[in-house]
């Protein structure tokens, strides 16, 4: 919404009182700043999506296909047959409300339909009417309602106001995962041509070129070459960034934002420095150059289509195993779906660190290891020389990205890396980290400018916790391990907590890493390197960390 960005004062008065009429009677309000533009027809067509047409959420008539109700209901029936999760979650919610104030969108907007339980009821009410006896007989009394165009508009609004972060699932006594329901809801919407552009277009780009911006392979190479030059300038060490190199031991896959966007780019420099320093025999791939999976936000089929490239490329290149960079949704797909969808990866070997000999036997089937797991192992085995004082200009806190936290349980590895890369690390309040972490508010493909207001609202609980450590401990850097976070947290913090910047964990590692033959005066961002004058490169790295971790409130 060009020009009309709201101010923090406006968004910070939230009314948590629901309206007086029943939620079924409250029509969806497609208000600027709270929705995403419809999919670009050309890109939807490129992906062979159904019912491609020109329309916008602001139109009165969404030009639904003639038999849209039939398509949706048959699609729902089909998914009930395919997913026990969906079937079960339709039946067993007791509407206890434990999930209600756990969703960042509800906390930031006060809109009762953003309570996870009601978000699910949007679909459940249709399920009841068409798939349960009580609903057929008792109708509205049993919480059932017919599928109308209005219901579809409501689905569109609220299923694209859920970042599929699964925070609600942590608190639900039955583990009801509203993200599962949102995913099904989005699949149904897409089956009648109601996709959004910031999912469809990157998905089409990833499918075609390998990265979300649609930059062609030589552009990818340029980008890596440029990074190599820049790293040489900063460190005096010229590293290599091999692409599509057959016979490398390890294939490295990261989100494409790492080489096209900032501050992701500094994390990329960190990877390159690290891999060079340990002499890793690895390769990038231009074909599988995107780990981030926009398909996850679209449909199970699309997720599988995009993810397929990684195993296919590992096989073609003949690598032994796969290493993955800092990315949230990418890791949800890699951890929970990849092996099932596109495995078995029996042409690969069980991952073993070539530097330390550690067997990553928890990844023995998927054959894919997270970079934080890999780096922690290097640190624990004393393979890296890290000069923590080089990060003394930052006072760091860590944002657990939703997916590595709640879909992987990757909690301590990044903290271990940070702990060994900087002297000043502070935890945010307990209710807002680890499995209870708050979403950036822009995940799952809704981090667009037109959706700005909703993003700022949804990100408010996260920003609020950052503000706390900013004020108490002077935190000025928020580290995270997710490409979407790196893209969306900077505007969020600028809005709510000016003065805090965002970095990747491997940017901190890259800064602290003492490389053989290096000569550094600036950090990876080109800022003067702190501690550089005093550090003679000996001893300091081995000192145990002075603990400044606070876990109050």
């Amino acid at each position: 919404m060009a020009g009309a960005k709201p101010k923090p004062e406006k968004l910070s008065s939230v009314d948590y009182h629901p309206p007086s009429q029943s939620w079924m009677d409250v029509p969806p309000n497609v208000r600027p700043g709270t929705f995403n533009w419809a999919a670009n027809p050309a890109n939807a067509a490129y992906l062979d999506l159904p019912h491609v047409r020109k329309w916008q959420p602001t139109d009165e008539d969404w030009k639904l296909p003639d038999n849209w109700q039939q398509i949706v209901l048959e699609g729902l029936a089909d998914r009930l047959q395919k997913y026990r999760s969906l079937k079960l979650f339709m039946d067993i919610c007791v509407r206890c409300g434990a999930c209600a104030d756990k969703c960042h969108f509800f906390l930031g907007s006060g809109d009762p339909k953003n309570m996870p339980v009601l978000r699910a009821e949007l679909l459940r009410s249709v399920y009841r009417r068409d798939f349960t006896t009580a609903g057929k007989i008792l109708g509205k009394l049993a919480g059932a309602r017919p599928l109308t165009p209005q219901v579809i508009k409501e689905w569109f609004l609220y299923f694209y106001q859920c970042t599929e972060c699964r925070r609600c699932s942590v608190f639900c006594p039955y583990g009801i995962d509203t993200a599962e329901i949102t995913m099904m809801g989005r699949e149904l919407l897409n089956s009648i041509g109601l996709g959004i552009d910031w999912i469809t277009t990157p998905a089409a780009n990833c499918f075609r070129t390998g990265n979300h911006l649609g930059i062609q392979p030589h552009g990818f190479k340029d980008s890596l070459d440029f990074a190599v030059d820049e790293l040489a300038e900063i460190t005096g060490v010229r590293v290599e960034a091999p692409i599509n190199r057959k016979g490398a031991e390890i294939l490295f896959v990261s989100p494409s934002a790492d080489y096209f966007a900032s501050p992701h780019y500094y994390t990329l420099l960190g990877y390159l420095a690290l891999f060079h320093e340990i002499g890793l025999d690895y390769t990038w791939s231009a074909y599988a150059s995107e780990g981030g999976n926009f398909g996850l936000f679209h449909s199970s089929d699309m997720m599988k289509r995009l993810n397929a490239k990684i195993y296919a490329e590992a096989r073609r290149l003949g690598v032994k195993w796969i290493l993955g960079g800092e990315c949230g949704h990418m890791w949800r797909v890699l951890h929970q779906y990849m092996d099932t969808m596109n495995g078995p990866a029996d042409f690969l070997e069980e991952p073993v660190s070539p530097i330390t000999g550690t067997k990553f036997d928890h990844a023995r089937a998927t054959k894919m290891v997270h970079i934080c797991e890999f780096t922690s192992d290097l640190i624990a085995n004393g393979k890296l020389k890290l000069e923590k004082s080089r990060n003394d200009n930052v006072r760091v806190t860590f944002h657990d990205s939703c997916n590595p936290a709640r879909a992987m349980g990757l909690l301590d590895e990044p903290r271990y890396c940070i702990d060994h890369a900087c002297n000043h690390f502070f935890e945010m309040p307990e209710n807002t980290i680890r499995e209870q972490t708050f979403c950036c508010g822009s995940g799952s493909g809704i981090g667009t400018d037109e959706n700005f207001e909703m993003r700022m609202r949804g990100g408010f609980p996260r920003a609020n916790a950052v503000k706390y450590v900013h004020e108490i401990h002077g935190v000025n850097m928020l580290a995270c391990i997710c490409a979407i976070d790196k893209a969306t947290l900077p505007p969020l913090l600028e809005f709510w907590v000016p003065g805090v910047e965002v970095c990747g964990v491997h940017e901190l590692i890259g800064n602290a890493l003492v490389m053989k033959g290096e000569h550094r005066v600036s950090d990876l961002r080109g800022e003067p390197l702190p501690g550089q004058a005093g550090a003679d490169g000996e001893g300091a790295a081995d000192q145990p960390a002075e603990k400044e971790v606070s876990k109050d409130v």
């Binding site: 026990r84 206890c96 608190f171 039955y174 392979p217 340029d222 296919a312 490329e313 099932t340 709640r406």
Partner: protein
């Protein structure tokens, strides 16, 4: 409104029962036919539900991890919150089913001026839920004494423990009080909290009121002048389970109201949210282990999708790749 509606349904159940027991046909109906129908519906319904869920596969392993995964040997793994093996899963489920682990995590968020979100403990729901379910279970078990002769030792044991404080005569069972208090809390919570009221359906108030009525009628029968003769209750109960029902004359309206409410509860059970009792065991986010990368999970309906193969990709970009000196599979001349 929805609460009032549910209340009137419960009232109608009570009144109909009272009217019915005035006639001998009615007594026979609420004393035998209705309980049989209720038990049959409950059993068949619940089995149907469970099979209905079980018929749909679990295509992906979608554990919600609430703790550290098992990864490097020196990183402390939380096997209860992020289980990687069967023991962990069993432990996690036991914590969930017996102690409502997830609800115990509950917090409430409040927006203060600043603006600042502050979080407080919100364990009342956990406590209320736990108190309600456990006392219901104990009361249920206590009722075994009506069905079996001799009464098994553990049943009387529970009963004695329950009457431990020896308040009143006949002894007041603690669980009766806890159940009534918990259910009152759970009901008023829904009515008073605006958000909960907003999301509650008639089906959320109805079981609370019904169970409240069930417990109240039980307490009345035990502690007021409307007291019933236990031997007659036992006669009816054993008659029912031996499929040779008798409806003793002495049993009055309160008893039948109690029995009818129980029957209605059983009838209602399989068609309502109360199926969470069985459903909780099936939840894929809780009953699966987080060993996705260690052990392959099979999706029974996995099927091939259209992908962009490497060959197609290279064909499309060969020229630019060649110009950039990137490795190629097929170095064919194109113009």
């Amino acid at each position: 409104m929805r609460a009032l509606f549910s209340l009137s349904v419960v009232a109608v159940v009570v009144l109909l029962t009272i009217a019915a027991v005035a006639t001998s046909g009615g007594r026979f109906f609420v004393g035998t036919i209705l309980p049989y129908a209720a038990i049959a519906t409950f059993l068949v319904g619940m089995i149907y539900r469970v099979l209905h869920w079980a018929r749909s596969p679990v295509p992906f392993k979608i554990t919600t991890t609430c703790g550290q995964q098992r990864s490097l040997s020196w990183i402390k793994h939380d096997n209860l919150e992020s289980p990687h093996n069967l023991w962990g899963v069993l432990g996690r489920m036991a914590l969930e089913v017996l102690f409502f682990r997830s609800l115990f995590r509950n917090t409430k968020a409040e927006l203060k001026d600043g603006p600042r979100l502050v979080y407080g403990d919100a364990r009342w729901l956990w406590l209320g839920g736990l108190a309600f379910h456990w006392s219901f279970l104990v009361i249920f078990v206590r009722h075994f004494k009506f069905f079996v002769e001799p009464v098994p030792g553990w049943v009387s044991g529970i009963q004695e423990l329950d009457g431990f404080f020896q308040i009143g005569l006949p002894i007041f069972y603690i669980t009766d009080g806890i159940l009534l208090a918990a259910i009152t809390y759970l009901f008023f919570r829904r009515v008073v909290n605006p958000q909960l009221r907003y999301l509650s359906l008639a089906g959320d108030y109805f079981p609370l009121l019904l169970i409240g009525g069930l417990a109240t009628s039980g307490v009345i029968m035990r502690h007021t002048s409307l007291r019933v003769d236990i031997t007659d209750v036992k006669l009816l109960a054993t008659g029912l389970i031996s499929l040779d029902p008798v409806v003793p004359e002495s049993l009055g309206a309160v008893f039948f109201v109690h029995l009818t409410m129980l029957s209605v509860l059983l009838l209602y059970f399989p068609f309502s949210k109360l199926v969470h009792m069985a459903g909780v065991f099936f939840s894929p986010t809780r009953n699966m282990s987080n060993n996705n990368r260690e052990q392959r999970h099979i999706n029974p309906w996995n099927y091939p999708v259209k992908v962009h193969t490497y060959e197609e990709w290279e064909d499309e970009f060969r020229d630019v790749m060649k110009a950039a000196d990137m490795p190629l599979e097929k170095d064919v001349e194109t113009k």
